[in-house]
Amino acid sequence: MAKYGMLIDYDFCTGCHSCEVACQQEHNYPVGKNGIRVTEHEYDTGEKIKIDFMPFLTDLCDLCMPRVAEGEKPACVKHCQSACMEFGLTKDLAKTLGDKSKVVLYTVQPG
């Protein structure tokens, strides 16, 4: 069971890359290796051009459990400039899913 998860209000993700570099610094990952990646999506709604971003957790995400054990947030969550990421117990985060639109919940079972 994935006890912990990450809730991302991706409507507010501006694609700033802070989560990606925060992860690389925290884990000392070299170029090419990352626990989180942000993808860009450009589309025409008929009224306007939308540019949205979607952070995606890779298999390298360990939810920064050593940080969490020290009472810290995962590095990406802490540094997110939009403050649109939340870490917590999957069951708690799942309860809030319906409150907003354009939200994703990632569940991760670290290693």
Partner: protein, 748 residues
């Protein structure tokens, strides 16, 4: 492994670049910074950090970092340098600079800065101690970055103003005095891409989350424009007409805040008359935005109880940028938004501490009367432009480079370049800058890495420091902060240490009251009643206390004027939409519109030849101007200099996504990689500035590939603004797009 200590400090480049002032925590082990994290207790960023600061360890300990003074030993441009001691480096600079001073006068050396870093203090300290009035942001045509807007604000409303995102309140969004802005016009910027001018870009996003609606004034589609209530996609460079059109709607429909205007605004009738010359249909024709959209946006802004305008460099880069700024100031003024919660608040440095002296008295005291005389009489541009003479002590950049080339009215023989990769960065007419600067007899460059400017020009390179390596202070809006040194890298010195040592040599008498930069910091900090050490004990930063530096409604409380009377810090005590300061400076006292010097309308023939309007100078989250291309974690995410091309345009020019092409006009051609996207209109393209390739050969003729990628080679100059400020053509240059093989065929 040793113990890891964690120290708070405040970020101000070098390292991240930028003009933010976020709180950071440095993790130090055995004298080395091993990690950096945002400081969650700091009100500026509340723990958040940008990718540039998070990659700081890769920057500080980069193998290419210059860590010793390097003296050129081969020909200029050969890339041959040898390490020397600091003593020898200072002796060499003193000797060479004194030679020029003795033969031609101190004004014959220019002191050139870029942006970012706490540079204003140390570079003016050195320039003035040397006796030169020519402190300049060299290459930045028309000084087109914030200075035109600052000058306009000072002239029109007597003070600077910013969008109120609660940044002057310690409890921020939780402070009961603050209110969520109903609307923010984001004019010519994509705030999430950086922290311009002491403003954390994501504060706008914070407000959006709390309900603020956005009006986007932007030719392009961005994350933010897609979320805006109104998005006005104006043609680049037509912002002045847009402001007048909106004023026309507001005044024509009686939507202004009449009570506020009656009491606090000077020149409403004249403004009304001027705005009447810009009916919305005419403005629609100029800007390319439908009349009804302009009118609706104007009504939406005027009808909001609390609103503000957050603006960017495209305003400065309009021809007559100071007048465009004037028009925009009128928008926030006549709608009664000044210094109210969630409005456009007056911005003053916390505790009234300034980084360097501004007043004539302070300058005389510090550097003597001769220097002050020189500042008026010999400063390049002070004669030609009254606004340049009377607002800010800088020389006019376009005129400086022209004078270096011509030697008229007096010769320029040396340059002290600090925090500025002129050739790889902001220089419009970049090749002309190269030709002119090569003529100088002595060039010293203070920087952290080699770049095209150090390679092409430097006789000596002095290695500077990142913010974890320096003691300094920051007094730009709020909070007042100190930057505290925690580590040392190589033999690097801080900008302050370098300049202080040389200033002492050139002006021993004037500088004798300080034994170290710290003594000087404490003198600057004095208005706060705190010393550097006090500040450190207090946690490193202080938010403004009730008084002139803290909102709200200071004009009603008599906190803005020297005489203590209610009102604004202008001659009339009111906001002067009819601007008497402009009148004094022989400028139109009312806002007006100027068509860009290159455009489909002003130069139809040129437009046939070069049918695409090139927008440059936007910000990337990963880079700061010409910095950071060598940082692996950053470069990985934006490896190539791309150009945004609309799908229809790509079809017309027969280019595919990812294809390398040239952007070209009469000034030259520059390589770019095509990104097909609807971010731009078919008539426009957008590409970033500041590209050179640190991984390539640095010696001449390659100079890190700068002549292949430096986009400002295509940007013409000099600027064409009446005030001397504004008008660098970075957003409105006409170009065409050429395939590589076409070029090869044409070149025979």
């Amino acid at each position: 492994m040793g113990k890891i200590d964690v120290y708070p400090t405040v970020a101000w480049s070098a390292g991240a670049g930028c003009h933010g002032g976020c709180g950071q925590k440095l993790f130090v082990e055995d004298g080395k910074m091993v990690k950096i994290e945002g400081d969650e207790n700091h009100p500026f960023n509340q723990g958040r950090s940008c990718p540039r600061v998070l990659a700081l360890t890769q920057y500080m300990y980069h193998e290419d970092r210059i860590t010793q003074p390097m003296k050129r030993v081969g020909e200029r441009g050969s890339g041959k340098f040898e390490p020397i001691s600091w003593d020898d480096a200072f002796d060499y600079c003193e000797t060479e600079m004194s030679k020029i001073k003795d033969q031609y006068g101190p004004e014959s050396i220019v002191f050139a800065q870029g942006t970012g870093r706490d540079i204003g203090g140390p570079i003016s300290f050195l320039a003035y101690s040397f006796g030169s009035p020519n402190w300049v942001q060299l290459g930045l045509s028309g000084q087109s970055c914030y200075t035109p807007r600052l000058g306009a604000m000072k002239a029109v409303q007597g003070d600077f103003g910013v969008s109120d995102c609660s940044q002057f309140l310690e409890d921020r969004y939780d402070d009961p005095e603050w209110e969520v802005p109903e609307v923010i016009i984001v004019w010519g910027q994509h705030p999430p891409n950086g922290c311009p001018d002491a403003f954390f870009g994501h504060w706008i996003v914070d407000c959006m989350k709390r309900g603020t609606k956005i009006i986007s004034m932007d030719p392009r589609n961005t994350w933010m424009t897609g979320r805006a209530e109104h998005h006005l996609k104006l043609r680049p460079g037509t912002d002045g007409a847009m402001a007048l059109g909106m004023l026309n709607v507001i005044l024509g429909e009686g939507l202004e805040d009449k009570k506020f205007c009656d009491k606090w605004v000077h020149g409403m009738d004249e403004l009304r008359e001027r705005a009447a010359e810009y009916p919305v249909e005419r403005v629609a024709q100029i800007t390319g935005v439908p009349a009804e959209e302009i009118a609706e946006a104007a009504r939406f802004f005027a009808n909001a109880k609390r609103g503000s305008i957050h603006w960017g460099v495209p305003i400065d880069m309009c021809p007559d940028g100071t007048s465009v700024a004037h028009g925009i100031i009128c928008l926030w003024a006549i709608t009664g938004n000044i210094d109210i919660p969630g409005g456009q608040v007056i911005a003053r440095p916390s505790h009234e501490v300034s980084s360097y002296p501004y007043s004539t008295e302070a300058l005389v005291d510090l550097y003597g009367e001769e220097l002050v005389k020189t500042l008026t009489e010999k400063r390049i541009g002070a004669d030609a432009y009254k606004m340049v003479k009377n607002f800010r002590g800088w020389a006019q950049p376009d005129m400086v480079i022209d004078q270096i080339m011509t030697g008229e009215p007096y010769p320029i023989k040396g340059a002290w370049i600090q925090t500025a990769n002129v050739l790889g960065g902001q220089a419009a007419r970049a090749n002309f800058h190269y030709e002119a600067l090569k003529k100088l007899e002595f060039v010293a460059v203070v920087d952290l890495f080699h770049n095209p400017t150090t390679m092409a020009l430097a006789d000596i390179v002095l290695p500077s420091s990142t913010f974890p390596e320096k003691d300094s202070f920051r007094s730009w809006w709020a909070p007042l902060s100190i930057i505290k040194k925690r580590v040392q890298v190589g033999d690097c010195k801080t900008d302050w240490e370098i300049n202080f040592e040389l200033a002492k040599r050139f002006n021993p008498e004037g500088t004798q009251r300080w034994g170290s930069p710290m003594d000087y910091f404490n003198e600057r900090l004095a208005p706060s009643g705190k010393t550097f050490e006090d500040m450190e004990e207090a946690g490193g930063w202080l938010m403004p206390e009730d008084g002139p530096a803290k909102p709200y409604r200071r004009h009603e409380r008599g906190l803005l004027r020297q005489d203590g009377e209610p009102g604004f810090n202008t001659r009339s005590g009111k906001i002067e939409v009819y601007c008497t300061a402009y009148e004094d400076w022989d400028l139109d006292p009312l806002p007006f519109y100027t068509e860009p010097p290159q455009s489909p309308i002003s130069t139809p023939e040129l437009h046939k030849k070069y049918p695409l309007i090139m927008i440059t100078g936007a910000r990337s989250q990963l880079y700061f101007h010409s910095e950071l291309r060598g940082i692996p974690w950053l470069r990985e995410k934006e490896p190539d200099p791309y150009v945004e091309v609309h799908p229809e345009t790509a079809k017309e020019y027969d280019v595919y996504d990812g294809e390398w092409i040239y952007l070209k006009n009469d000034l030259g051609k520059v390589k770019r990689k095509v990104m097909i996207t609807e971010r731009v209109k078919p008539t426009e393209i957008q590409t970033l500035h500041g590209w050179w390739m640190p991984e390539q050969e640095g010696a001449e003729p390659n100079l890190f590939g700068v002549w292949d990628y430096q986009i400002n080679q295509l940007v013409p100059g000099p600027q064409e603004s009446q005030s001397g400020f504004g008008g660098g053509q970075y957003k409105t240059t006409l170009v065409t797009l050429e395939k590589f093989e076409q070029g090869a065929a044409a070149n025979g």
